[in-house]
Amino acid sequence: MALELELTSPIDVAKNAVASVQDYVRLSAQSVGNFFRPPIYMGDMLQQADLIGFGSLPIVILTGLSVGALLALNSASTLQRFGGITLIGQLVSLGMVTELGPLITGLMVAGRNASGMASELGSMIVTEQIDAMRALGTDPSKKLITPRVGATAFMLFFLTIIADLLGLVGGWAVAHLLFGLDTNQYWTSAWQILVFRDVFTGLVKPVLFGFIISTVGCYYGMSTTGGTQGVGRSTTQAVVASSVLILIVDFFVTKLIFAVFGVR
């Protein structure tokens, strides 16, 4: 079979990119707008919340614990050199709550669920199930996308809180068991360092990340073309795009919160 390479003009590439962004924005806006236009598929939303939330719990528990423990382990030697081992609780607490908790949870859920959404919806597209749904008088955007967006944003909020807490537990385990830090001292310093801005930052991010994961996953799923190979491609693209977007949005949200509340 001869391999044919087709040259695409930069203008066409740019046009396609703009069209993709436009489609993504439209899908995202529609998914939010659907919350205010009945019918609302509460049953589907609960089912998705179960799949996304409880389904992601093991991986979130594992990563939360590991990241907290590793953060404590890596920083402990430096802190010990300057006689500041007692600050380890503060360091783990701030790191987990403002940054690592939301980010790691977001990336984990993106890997697990953006791919799942893209492959599920992509398969439905290539087997004409989405067309069948439209033909049966049901709006796929309301029935399939909005429940996923609502469930992901809602569940990622709680998953992040769990990851934050477990990260602190992991940090305490290292600080207490390996470096002999007093339990009371660890938890008191971890608790006292947090101010409203930190908690606010840590709780706004997962909602945004959940929105990104679900809309990107659904967008790639719904724009699948090219049969089963296309489903595979959409799945990969969904994970890559949602992860990159999470990192970019994380940076700008942090900057924005610094601008609004001021740097510590």
Partner: protein, 281 residues
């Protein structure tokens, strides 16, 4: 052979429209990636008639059904379904219209994560029909296609022919005014094909449902033109030769994106067009 009793037999779906047509295509064209698939297509489907659509693979038959349903938009032209201009309706307005139309997709397009009964009941559940009524109507529809035993099964557990019949049950459960069949007998054995043809005929003759049927099998369309469904015997029976013109059945042939034939079986048989002669030979 015979088929079971009809769901809601007292109900007759055919609804006369002021124009007398269930579907009208007026100079409809569509192209994909600069390849013209349909080029100025015009035809009318009278109410209560079944029109068989022929054409070689890739001639735009399935596209035509999706256009009729408003699932894709034409580049130009008008499509009128049940008196409503599909080409001017928003997606939200179309959802209501689609509630009056049933479609059987080429590969059945059953929801693979739902059980057979949930597939058939999908539209009824969306319309918030009472659970008892849903169960009654789903069982009736499944009985109509002789698949009651598959009620609790998943589509993946069914054969291709069974899936096609479940798709028919899903399409007819809400007693639509128009039915669109996309290759309902494609890839099936002759016995299963006959069963499906009989089901389509039953819809035509008892419910008086208007239908567009895409098919590659000429013999299916000719069977439909030469037989009628006998309600008393509950099976299809051959019509004497002199009376076949009364059957509400017509043929439409597409070639290179254009309609090259639109008429009844007798006109088709009498056609002198070389392509058509070759096609039906």
């Amino acid at each position: 052979m015979s088929t079971p009793a009809l769901p809601g037999e007292q109900q007759v779906a055919a609804t006369a429209h002021s124009s007398g047509y269930a579907i009208e295509f007026d100079n409809v064209s569509i192209a994909f990636d600069e390849k013209v698939v349909l080029d100025g297509i015009s035809f009318k489907l009278p109410c209560a008639e079944t029109k068989a659509l022929f054409g070689v693979a890739g001639s735009g038959k399935s596209v035509l059904l999706k256009l009729a349903m408003g699932l894709i938009r034409p580049d130009s032209g008008r499509i009128i379904m049940l008196g409503e201009e599909v080409t001017r309706m928003t997606e939200r307005e179309l959802f209501e219209l689609r509630g009056r139309v049933g479609i059987v997709f080429q590969e059945s397009a059953l929801f693979d994560s739902l059980k057979v009964w949930e597939n058939v009941a999908f539209r009824l559940m969306e319309n918030k029909i009472a659970p008892d009524e849903i169960e009654r109507r789903v069982r009736e529809s499944l009985k109509f296609v002789e698949l009651e035993q598959t009620y609790d099964m998943f589509p993946s557990e069914l054969s291709g022919g069974m899936r096609r019949r479940v798709a028919i049950a899903r399409a007819i459960v809400s007693h639509p005014e128009v039915l669109l069949y996309d290759s309902p007998t494609g890839g099936l054995d002759p016995v299963t094909s006959n069963t499906i043809v009989e089901l389509i005929m039953k819809q035509r003759d008892v419910y008086k449902t208007s239908a567009l049927m895409v098919t590659h099998r000429l013999q299916d369309a000719f069977t439909m033109a030469s037989h009628e469904f006998d309600k008393k015997k509950n099976e299809m029976v051959a019509i004497p030769k002199g009376q076949r013109g009364e059957v509400p059945m017509s043929f439409l042939i597409l070639k290179d994106g254009k309609v090259i034939f639109d008429g009844d079986a007798q006109q088709l048989a009498a056609s002198r067009d070389e392509y058509i002669r070759e096609y039906i030979s």
